[in-house]
Subunit: 511 residues, 2 copies
């Protein structure tokens, strides 16, 4: 296949590499369109055909990534790469992807892609039927395939251990050994806060956030907020789906989905802000990097730092609501007499709950810790797939003191495992930790962000994030980006400062 977009000024081997890579990126983009359609548009009977089409695309993408012609192109291009240059980054990232793909037998890659569609449909059905046992055989097949994949990656020397191999896909370079103390220490710091809240006896009145919130009004308000954040609807769209997500087909087509509760506006709005935060990252990658090896988001932890920053540090802040409240009154006229002092605490309740995506900022990480521990046990062979639901319930009882009444609110709540995404959840907590450190740094550079938010000015913050994070794609590693943007390596300090101050304001405990 010949290049369609190659720049004639580039040395031929570099142009050849970029051309091959653009084709591979287009295959990924096509698959992403098919997946988006599957989750937002497709009728039920399309499932089997869609699974076949996705498997074929995945198979071809895998063929291309493992084609000796690509490996040759990378090495030929490498001879033109100055150390530290963008080309050098392309070479590094291309080698990384090829190494990962080559470690995976083609037949296995194809089986995983086919199983993803089947498993996703089975999960949707199982969740609707509240029936974990019916889902077990399909999930077990997926776990078997993912285990094969992890073993293949370990055998290729990409990671030392099965679970690390899985982590590496989502958070390059992350290891279980590093994450255990990080998540453990967060649990140790957050547990006393949760306990102090419980002991305070304070019951936040949430009635301001509850009532009749018609879907169309929620959607219109959410769209307005997303636009104010800077999300470009001419380069994306918003649709409903069972599980909200963001998908990118390229920097100019980045789509988000949401779901809403008719009697509580919070899941819908914060879901949209969360996904729009992800989307701002994807829409903000330097267009010149599009479809190149350096043109993807650097890691899911950094990705989640963007979504959580907009959701929590902007969307739940007092200054943001000083601007947003009049618009909210207009959107929901029966709430026209709700004051900021009534609404704000309802955005900051701390309460152990069953559903991760609806959890508060404090307990959220305990949901992640639960999944992290269960996944590790599964891939260490300590538990089996049929035991997942009981283990889930027991872990929730231990960490959060509550027990799901049935699998729909327990082990079946998340889409991730059905799609074979094990090792993904810890990136959520990394995102929480990173976002607070970024926000403090942005405020140091930009002055009083609250004063800007009060005027609905979210542009300076977006500009800072674009400059420090978004545009770079994979030019720097996650750790490099954090250090360049904030002047320091990642610690949990900023996150814990944020949590303590919020909880103090909402509950009058701690400091």
């Amino acid at each position: 296949m010949t290049a369609i977009d190659a720049d004639p000024a580039l040395p031929a081997p570099v142009a050849d590499l970029l051309s091959q890579w653009a084709d591979i990126a287009s295959l990924g983009s096509a698959a992403a369109v098919l997946e988006w359609d599957q989750e937002t548009q497709m009728a039920g009977k399309g499932q089997a055909g869609r699974g076949r089409a996705l498997a074929v695309l995945a198979g071809i993408r895998h063929e291309r990534l493992t084609d000796p012609a690509l490996a040759d192109a990378i090495e030929a291009a490498a001879e033109h790469a100055e150390p530290g240059s963008l080309l050098d980054v392309h070479i590094r990232e291309a080698r990384r992807e090829v190494r990962h793909a080559s470690a995976l037998p083609e037949e296995l890659a194809r089986q995983i892609a086919a199983q993803e569609s089947r498993s996703l449909a089975a999960w949707q059905q199982a969740r609707a039927d509240d029936d974990f046992d019916g889902f077990v055989p399909v999930l077990a097949e997926m776990v078997g395939l993912v285990t094969e994949k992890a073993d293949a990656l370990v055998a290729a020397g990409i990671a030392d251990r099965r679970y690390d191999a899985l982590l590496d896909e989502y958070e390059p370079g992350a290891t279980e050994a590093e994450l255990v103390p990080l998540l453990g220490s967060l649990r140790d710091e957050l547990s006393p806060i949760v306990k102090a809240v419980a002991d305070s006896g304070v019951q936040i009145d949430e009635s301001a956030a509850l009532g009749d919130f018609p879907g169309p009004a929620q959607e219109a308000f959410g769209r307005m907020v997303a636009e104010t954040m800077g999300y470009d609807f001419e380069a994306g769209r918003l649709d409903e789906s069972a599980h909200p997500f963001t998908t990118s087909f390229g920097v100019r087509d980045v789509r988000i989905t949401w779901r809403f509760e008719p009697d509580d506006f919070r899941p819908g709005l914060f879901g949209i802000m969360h996904e729009a935060g992800h989307a701002l990252y994807e829409q903000g990658i330097d267009p010149d990097l599009e479809a190149t090896p350096a043109g993807n988001a650097v890691s899911l932890g950094i990705h989640e730092s963007q979504s959580r920053l907009w959701e929590n540090l902007v969307g739940r802040s007092r200054p943001f609501w000083e601007w947003a409240l009049p618009h909210w009154h207009e959107a929901f006229p029966h709430k026209a007499d709700v004051t900021l002092d009534q609404l704000w605490p309802a955005l900051h309740t701390v309460r152990p709950s069953l559903i991760r995506v609806e959890a508060d900022e404090v307990t959220y990480n305990l949901h992640v810790v639960a999944r992290f521990e269960i996944e590790r046990a599964l891939f260490a062979g300590e538990i089996t797939v049929p035991e997942l639901s009981d283990r889930w319930d027991a872990t929730y009882e231990e960490l959060l003191g509550i027990r799901p009444p049935s699998p729909a609110d327990g082990v079946l709540q998340d889409i991730h495992w059905s799609m074979g995404a094990f090792g993904y959840f810890p990136t959520y907590t990394l995102g929480n930790v990173v976002n607070a450190q970024l926000f403090e740094a942005a405020e140091r550079d930009l002055g009083d962000l609250g004063a800007q938010f009060r005027n609905g000015e979210l542009g300076p913050l977006l500009g800072w994030l674009r400059d420090r994070i978004h545009r770079h794609g994979r030019r720097y590693t996650a750790a490099e980006l954090i250090e360049q943007a904030t002047g320091a390596p990642l610690t949990t300090d900023a996150f814990l400062r944020h949590i303590r101050s919020t909880v103090h304001e909402a509950y009058g405990v701690g400091a």
Copy 2:
């Protein structure tokens, strides 16, 4: 790539062929999803990336079709094929597709795919701006590429002449030499009818069909009708698009689109019935043929016979409306006093008009004749792309006696040319001729169809079409299907009988 769906009972070479073919079909299906999304969902800025992705998919599909491994598989499988067997059909159709693809240089195939996206976007813009001149350069590039394609097909011996090569893609085996007398004779027969209607002085009162028809009510009524026809919404969906179309990703995901006028219910409803007619064909192909060489619709003429049959012979018939009218009254309460005798004539006005898709049954074919003559002149080198708009206006004046006020209602009205679909229009008229012959045959076999329609029973007719046409895919040629289904070769007799009887009833002229 290895098979995922191969039946272990098949001889290995046959299984190999079917497996390779299923992959190729999946690539086509993936491209169809991307195209559907582009026309119904995608925001404007996604265009460039979508064009690249479609070009890559087209390129890979072309690579696969021209891969010597496929040619080898076809010939190896051919050794197992009994004459007249299904495998024999697979071999014939696979050879045909490979011959077509091999005649086309890969780079050209890729350029055409990329140009399709650009050209489609430019057409949408030009139509919105009512600006043909701005569209000329993009269209000229497309015409140039299509000319190259036609020349390549001629050079490969697939057709003797440029325009025949284009026709053959949509109507296998059709030639300009055959179509000229067919379309010419229809024009000769229909012209006196149009003249007699004009001379009659009868003005049909269309007020029953005009008024306030809210989009959601039109959509709900259209969906109900499509369901009654037998369209399976669990294996498809209905969306809005600028130009209504049907697309199939496989027999279990066949989607239709529509557009509507707020003050005239006819374009919306008959558009839905038309596209649902197409979709019934695609949903009715034997599932065992899916993704095999024999698994596609046999020709666009046959396809159009299905859409026009449901739109005109069912949807505009008195018996259908005896059933439909109470539902229509419910959907549009301000029309509750409209009687069948008021409504029926408004479905059968005969009047020269500018827009093909809204034309009546009688003048419709003159719209097709106009395009047929202009296309032939273009590919014979008699006119150039910049001259198309003037030629269009002159041809309309000559054939229909009216002149478009501007290009949006003239040369820019159809999507086809923007996508490089030259040689496509004549299949519309073939469809008109075929549908009437099929309908007469169905009535011979099933008894009084009108009596069934009066009860909303459309199932027997669908069953007959499924049995005689839909399920066979490409097992028989279009000519064979028509002769098997109707007992006679194709003639214009049934169509002209239908037109004469309808016009007589509506206008009291002819017989």
